[in-house]
Symmetry: C2
Subunit: 323 residues, 2 copies
């Protein structure tokens, strides 16, 4: 951790302390298995249920860690971010748990249900036009006015340490995993996961799964330099963001490979998982299982941990009902 | 148990032995809570997740108990029933677990997905016209031809003892429940539940919840005599059947009251439960929570156990998407 730069790579102790720090606030989510999914894939699958995490997503781990790490002086001015997704809700609840303000910049096109969720946690919402520039410029204004601490959704060692704790629990609940898989969006989850696995179970491989239509991590890893997505388009709406230099660096060093998954297999995996486990997962969370259904990797006889990123779904707009 | 009459009322030992008998085959399902649902209802709710039971419903408990109670001689000729719902799947899997044949009579209009599920457990399916008469006459023929034992979905002490074991586990996982609620269809679940509660926690009340549009238990209890449903019509398709003399007798003696629930509140409860817990429940399972949302009973400050009957849902035909 050097000064004000939040872009640091967590070590084992950072992750362990993060876990200790956030434990009073998070759910220790269960790890589940399904005989049907095992026999369909030929592997032994262990699903870490972050869809059952507070706010319905692993994002609450990182946000809680970042908020609880602030000094008293930083904390009293609050935290801020721009997001229309799970990070906004996660940061809003984490701030409420500490009793400090959260300022969330959301595009004016954000679904009412997401706005309502953020508001219900007591956050102050500022709307802006739905472009990245508008979001960033609005956020800068909010931060200047309030002195709040900007908490980036993934380009931040505090966030990555927090996201890493899901893998810590998964490794604690299982034995001798050959592979751990996560979906890949901005890279916060897979960065944290790959570090936790390297420190705790170095013989286990970490493999990322990414939509074909938002494959910046796949292309970046292949080319060796950061290639952001251009016009990504996938039902896995949590994975539209691109890697940062920080997460790309961690992934390059610690992730064995990235596999890409077609939209059809993401939808098929999501529906199959709902039917067989009776657990709701969001499209992003279905991407690793989709990779197995699409036979993008050989997992025959392997023990595979899969981190389910979340369960926040618009129940009126399910992907298998779209034409 | 008198001779061949299966219509007997289980005692405590019957239920305890049933639990011991079926434990190797069933899941011990979790009991979960939700802060949001507690604050919306003013009660402390404990949901027993039989949606996570094998075949996705509590019915597997009763079917397993009935199949495993058969003598060697009875068992070798197999079991039979007519059903298009969860009982058919439950009986098929229970029979496969014992290695004996299951003969299932299904209406030719049964959804392909249900037929496939029954077939996947190795049952022999006979189709018939979609009337109760055709089902019963076809079943008689199957039983005459094969010598299989007819296992009724609820009018049977072996089934009721098995269904009672869900309440045994719920009482084991909680303390000092004021009320236990279940949905009411043919009455197998609530009969078993009310007996288990009377034997194990006699100060706890048992309350049934029934769709307004299939309210035979409500009307029967009020009038004091069995009044079957005529043309019941509800999205809670597991609750279309009417009580038998056996289940009505047990309910009359052991159930405090039956509350009825409007269709709108069943749908609302189902969607709310999905959103808040990320767990899939079928419409029938949402009826007790629907009663609380509709404020059909005063549960302020009460500790309420709710048995979720199952989680088998057609994901392409969700009730909040119907016009």
């Amino acid at each position: 951790m050097n000064g004000n730069d939040r872009r640091w790579v967590p070590n084992l102790k950072d992750i362990q302390v993060a876990h200790y720090r956030i434990e009073p606030f998070i759910h220790r989510t269960p790890t589940i298995t399904s005989k049907t999914l095992n026999s369909m894939t030929g592997a032994k699958l262990y699903f870490k249920c972050e869809n059952l995490q507070k706010v319905g997503a692993f994002k609450f781990r990182g946000a809680t860690n970042a908020v609880m790490m602030l000094s008293e002086k930083e904390a009293e001015r609050g935290v801020a971010t721009h997001s229309s997704g799970n990070h906004a809700q996660a940061l809003a609840l984490a701030a409420r748990n500490r009793g400090i303000p959260a300022y969330i910049v959301m595009p004016e096109t954000a679904p009412a249900v997401k706005v309502e969720a953020v508001r219900s946690y007591g956050a102050k919402i500022t709307f802006c036009r739905p472009t990245l520039e508008a979001r960033e410029s609005e956020l800068r204004k909010v931060v200047e006015r309030t002195g709040a601490e900007f908490i980036h959704p993934y380009d931040d060692g505090r966030i990555i340490s927090g996201q890493a704790t899901a893998a810590v629990e998964l490794l604690d609940d299982t034995e001798d995993l050959d592979i751990v898989m996560t979906p890949v969006g901005g890279g916060g989850l897979i960065s944290g996961t790959s570090l936790a696995v390297k420190y705790i179970s170095p013989e286990t491989k970490v493999i990322g799964a990414e939509p074909e239509n938002a494959d910046d991590a796949f292309r970046s890893l292949r080319s060796g330099s950061l290639l952001p997505s251009e016009d990504p388009d996938t039902i896995a709406d949590g994975l539209l963001t691109s890697l940062s230099e920080l997460t790309f660096g961690i992934i390059k060093e610690n992730v064995s490979s990235i596999v890409t998954v077609g939209e059809e297999f993401i939808v098929r995996a999501m529906k199959l998982f709902w039917e067989r486990t009776k657990l709701i997962i969001e499209p992003s969370a279905a991407v690793p299982l989709g990779a197995l259904l699409e036979k993008k990797m050989d997992v025959e006889g392997k023990r595979v941990g899969i981190i389910l990123s979340g369960g926040n779904v618009d129940l009126k707009n399910l992907p298998w009902l779209r034409s």
